[in-house]
Amino acid sequence: MTKKLLEGSQGIAEAVALCRPQVIAAYPITPQTHIPQELADMVANGKLKAEWVNVESEHSAASVVLGASATGVRVFTASSSQGILLMNEVLFNIAGMRLPVVLVCVNRAISAPLNIWNDQQDSISQRDTGVIQLYAEDNQEAADLVYQAYRIAEDHRVQLPVMVCLDGYVLSHAWETVDIPSQAQVDSFLPPFKPLYKLDPENPLSFGMYMEPDKYLETRYMIQHTMEQSIGIIQDVAHDFEKIFGRPATAIIEEYQTHDATTILVGMGSMVSLFKEEVDQLRSQGQKVGVLKLVCYRPFPKEELYQSLKRAKHVVVIEKATSLGFGGPVASELRSVFYGCPHQPAISGFIAGLGGRDITAETVKTALNKAHRHPVDTEYLDLRTDLELEGISNPAGQHKK
């Protein structure tokens, strides 16, 4: 175990390399670029023995790792924003073929307007693909989730792709301390890849069949069932991780000061650090506030969320993505968790930080104040009041339940 001051992307690249992928394919897109560059450098210098495929698009990046995974080797790819969207079709396909592909999404906003900064719209938009999604709060967690991602994906009870998400720039381009384990530690945690099925002339199987209405529905049910079962497996993998690496792993949810909290902030990714900072401040002023970090967004850990949030009076969700025409996906899914249940905290949903708008302590305080006054369905935080928004007479633009 070596502590190093690394850029987030370097931490990811080192973690990926320690997992010994045999085929890597990636297409450049900001802010993901530093990850494939680091890996290409390792391959070019013989530090990593892997086939590096310089594809002509993200669609092909995902397709190359699909083909390689089906041939029975461990694979890796990474992308951001439009690249993740271009992969969308292939991600559905990888999940449908139950291939244990691991990819990293360096979260970035979606065009138009073109914007290279961080939010989580790209990965959230892939929520229905059948890809397991894990969100990192800091660069240590991002690297640690990579090791776990391979274990989860390649577990024969799971056999689904896993996407590790980290906030673009905020994490990917930030230098901080990352604990890099030894190869021996990673090897003892992550055994060599044993494919369930593979393309092999010795046993010439067919992959990617066409399926009629009398069977297709069952394949979707199988993935849903596996997704639900995988929550337990993800937890087991995290326990194993703690045993071998000697530091905590939080692969489903993490609770911070929630034991007696009447108000709980819910978020994903790097903003959770800020939540914790604010909660410490507010607690020092006597407010019973806590934080729930959602690490695993798919599968959505309904039971864990219910148990953790049921005693709170207010649940305040701040998210960096939205379903245009409805509202924040996490808030709305969380509300559905509580539908018809005996405990009913008021769940307020806020959209913030889209396109790299800095989420600050003020953002969090505003959300808490508004939620405490009255439950909020969907509200955009930090909207500028000095901008004239053509076609909108009331720039506040909020709607309440």
């Binding site: 449908g96 056999q159 369930l196 099925y197 010439p204 199987l205 067919s206 069949m209 394949t219 199988m222």
Partner: protein
């Protein structure tokens, strides 16, 4: 039926589809008079259901034959003719399905 993870399938299992039932108008009849075993009929069969091992031995496996007629069209010695389809198969074709030698060729 088992639904495998990822819908992975076993090789050559299409043989369970007896596509011979698609035939409506005509079926090939190998006359076995002038056949030179040139193999063109077998090489031109989209179903891959024509088998033979020498002159005047070629048969179309009507379990799969869709009756397209290319074998008759390509036969350089006119030893294959398309004849009107009979709904009940003649005895000789039934024998074919049980013939181990041809079966082994079909599953190679």
């Amino acid at each position: 039926m088992k639904l495998t993870i990822g819908g992975v399938s076993q090789p050559g299992t299409s043989r369970e589809n007896r596509t011979g039932s698609w035939r409506v108008n005509s079926r090939p009849s190998h006359l076995h008079k002038t056949c030179t075993a040139c193999d063109l009929c077998a090489l031109s069969c989209p179903e891959g259901c024509i088998y033979g091992k020498g002159r005047n031995t070629y048969y179309s496996d009507l379990t799969y034959c869709k009756g397209c007629g290319n074998c008759a069209d390509v036969c350089p010695v006119d030893d294959i003719v398309m004849v009107p389809e009979e709904k009940s198969l003649p005895q000789e074709w039934m024998v074919f399905s049980d013939n181990q030698e041809y079966k082994s060729m079909a599953t190679s």
